[in-house]
């Protein structure tokens, strides 16, 4: 039984803020931030957008593509995020209700820093493969937090990617997976804190690079594949630089990574990052294409996947559902810092 993705959908806010606009407020050097982070701007959720609304829209886009799937057939819903609106009460309950999946459904919210989205994909895939559910919905969504003036403020962005896993009407089979986990404290947010803390440059070499190369190398070896076997590759993208660097370290080319490399114009969508890179790839992939994906979550771990695109993808690509590139590159609304501060509730109107 071939199990894999039967539908995919993305949801991105229309609002953006440029690096220059943030740097101006803090008296920081915009060119060095742009160069250092490898990004120009980031998405900003509107005041009425949160992980739940972004997830609902992404899920609806996925269901619109996989039109043979009824929401009521979804046996599980997993939403991975580090910005769930509630500390206690799953985002999945509201999302499942909104799309009409309930009540026969297993729901859980996932948390593993930026890899919470791929965790849901991993688990939903496993449940379908085990025969416990017919279809499973996995979503990676975030409206990420970056403290004012911190380096994270330039990159912490918003977006959601949704995947329906199943064994019928598969558009991309999941051929192999590998998860790599260690206790590596590079980035965390404790309870009652608004913003995460990070260990500066420690988040690079010993955290992101060690973990992503660890998972990717192991999966390539396990699958008996080489980077050149893939048409596309996508890595977690905390900024514009890291994914390109890690891909090149592993032997992938810029051409293989370009389509899924959204961070320079999207920022870091945390749990949505590598899943959104994958939605952008599925929007354009051809039957037979092999896709390599590796997420990263601080703490730290990576989930890596090998996908093969099937001939069923073409019909779904032609359904007129909004693509990732459409949402990313069209109809943007650029914010000034004051509006951004209001949108992100950094300033509040007096009662």
């Amino acid at each position: 039984m071939k199990v894999g993705i039967v539908g995919w959908g993305a949801s991105l806010p229309r609002h953006r803020i440029k690096v220059e606009e943030i740097a101006k407020v803090w008296g920081a050097d915009a060119p060095s931030y742009k160069k250092g982070l490898g990004l120009r701007e980031k998405s900003v959720p509107a005041p009425d957008q949160d992980v739940i609304t972004l997830s609902v829209e992404a899920a609806r886009n996925a269901l619109a593509r996989a039109s043979q799937v009824s929401a009521a057939e979804l046996g599980c819903i997993y939403i991975g995020s580090e910005s769930h609106p509630y500390a206690v009460k799953p985002s999945g309950c509201t999302v499942g209700e909104a799309i009409g999946a309930f009540p026969a459904c297993h729901v859980a919210d996932m948390e593993f820093a930026c890899k919470a989205g791929s965790e849901g994909m991993f688990v939903a895939h496993g449940l379908v493969k085990a025969g416990l559910v017919k279809y499973g919905l996995a979503i990676g969504a975030d409206t990420s937090q970056g403290a004012p003036g911190d380096a994270l403020e330039y990159s912490a962005a918003a977006g959601a990617a949704a995947y329906i896993m199943g064994s019928e009407g598969v558009v991309a089979t999941i051929d192999d997976t590998f998860s790599f986990t260690t206790d590596t404290p590079d980035f965390w947010r404790r309870e009652y804190q608004h913003y995460p803390q990070h260990a500066g440059r420690f988040t690079g070499e010993p955290a992101y690079f060690r973990t992503v190369t660890g998972a990717s190398t192991a999966l390539l070896e396990k699958a008996g594949m080489k980077p050149k076997d893939f048409a596309y590759a996508v890595f977690h993208q905390p900024n514009g630089k890291f994914p390109m660097r890690v891909g090149k370290m592993l032997g992938f080319t810029k051409e293989q990574m370009e389509i899924g490399w959204l961070a320079p114009r999207l920022g870091n969508t945390y749990s949505g990052a590598s899943p959104l890179g994958l939605t952008a790839i599925l929007d354009v992939a051809k039957p037979g294409d092999k896709i390599f994906m590796c997420s990263y979550g601080s703490g730290a771990g990576s989930d890596a996947f090998v996908y093969t695109v099937t001939d069923k993808i073409t019909a779904l690509q032609q359904k007129g559902v909004p693509t990732t590139a459409d949402q990313l590159d069209k109809n943007q609304i650029y914010l000034q810092y004051g509006e951004y501060a209001k949108f992100r509730r950094k300033i509040l109107k007096a009662e």
Binding site: D29, S32, A199, F202, P206
Partner: protein, 385 residues
């Protein structure tokens, strides 16, 4: 006093060494120096370390390092003089051999700086300034050296381009040093277009935060041949001097008086003059520091250090090659280790083992290490035996 010679030297890689701790780094350097010298024991050891407490929460460094080196119960002492800790440890080791108290002495320097973030590292370093007058009021070292640079530029017409040429030269030298933290070459334009940290200092005018260690074995000069097959390097002079910690208390912001004082003493002790020195490692924590150090050491007249750097006089092949290792700027600045690491570079130069950065025929070399903005200074003159 007995003549003292260095018979063993070792420096670790410099950089963000995530998998190595303070003790790992020290032990690597110390074992390397012991192996290089070929000695079978040590009588005592002196360890330069600026701030184990603030960087890794560890004090009591002397005994800890003796323990991890497997040398208990030899006497071990940590030496602290801010960024001159390493140079002062060398001086402490030299005193113990010269005085006849010990025959085989290990001198080490170590710092593990990357276990804390940038703000904490900046704070730890700032404790080397006068806290009551400077640190508590928010002044950091880039700010203090920037003030010195502004004063130097104002009086002597030193330019940003001259400062940048120091960085370009040191990165060029560092590109030939396999242990350098930042071995990439940078141009004067790269330095001038890098982020401004404290006007007029750009980020590429500043030395980095570094993990690293270095070690030396010291013995009486007349025992060097008996104890080791390696070429001995004689310590012709070891001097130190002090100045006010607070920059505003200095008579002259444009001069490193403690360095000048220590250098004058060293030339007298060694019976040498500045023009005799063929290779020198100076404390270039910031590019302006190298310019001021080369003036204080008497290589150039006051105010001429900038044009000299720009002219290539301090490059390998120039009048007086300075910081052939890449200096603190490119090789890296593990603060407590830097003074010892400078001596390791000069030992390699005088042994003719410096590879692509070798100064041809170098027989006499010098090291200048300082703490804070020059409140403590230590100078050594070394000669091939």
């Amino acid at each position: 006093m007995r003549d003292v010679a260095i018979i063993g030297a070792k420096v670790t890689a410099c950089g963000e060494l995530w998998n190595r701790s303070l003790r790992d780094l020290f032990v690597e350097a110390a074992l390397g120096a012991i192996k290089d010298a070929g000695v079978d024991h040590i009588d005592s050891m002196y360890v330069g370390c600026m701030s184990g407490g603030l960087f890794v929460g560890q004090e009591h460094i002397g005994a800890l390092m003796a323990d991890y080196l497997g040398q208990c119960p030899v006497p071990a002492m940590r030496v602290e003089s801010a960024c001159a800790s390493g140079g002062m440890a060398l001086r402490a080791g030299w005193l113990h051999v010269a005085s006849g108290l010990n025959d085989v002495v290990l001198v080490g320097g170590v710092e593990k700086m990357t276990d804390v973030g940038g703000d904490e590292a900046t704070y730890a370093l700032a404790t080397a300034a006068d806290q009551e007058w400077e640190g508590f009021n928010g002044v950091t070292f880039p700010g203090l050296y920037a003030m010195m640079a502004v004063a130097h530029m104002d009086r002597y017409k030193t330019t940003s381009k001259q400062l940048a040429s120091v960085a370009a030269k040191n990165h060029d030298n560092g590109s030939k040093n396999p242990n350098a933290q930042f071995p990439m070459k940078v141009s004067v334009e790269d330095v001038l277009s890098s982020v401004l940290v404290a006007d007029p200092l750009h980020i590429l005018d500043c030395s980095p935060i570094t993990d690293g260690a270095a070690a030396l074995i010291l013995v009486p000069a007349d025992m060097a041949k008996k104890l080791s097959k390696r070429p001995g390097i004689k310590i012709l002079a070891s001097t130190a001097a002090t100045d006010t910690l607070a920059l505003h208390s200095r008579k002259d912001l444009c001069a490193l008086e403690a360095v000048a004082k220590a250098a004058a003493g060293a030339y007298q002790q060694a019976n040498k003059k500045p023009s005799d020195v063929q290779v020198c490692e100076v404390h270039d924590c910031f590019t302006i520091a190298e310019i001021m150090a080369t003036e204080a050491l008497g290589f150039f007249e006051k105010g001429k250090g900038g044009p000299a750097a720009e002219s290539g006089a301090t490059a390998i092949g120039g009048k007086i090659p300075v910081n052939t290792s890449g200096g603190l700027k490119s090789k890296g600045h593990p603060v407590g280790a830097s003074g010892v690491s400078q001596a390791v570079e000069i030992v390699e130069q005088l042994r003719g083992e410096a590879g692509a950065r070798q100064v041809k025929g170098a027989k006499l070399g010098m090291t200048q290490n300082m703490g804070g903005t020059g409140a403590s200074a230590v100078v050594h003159i070394l000669e091939a035996m």
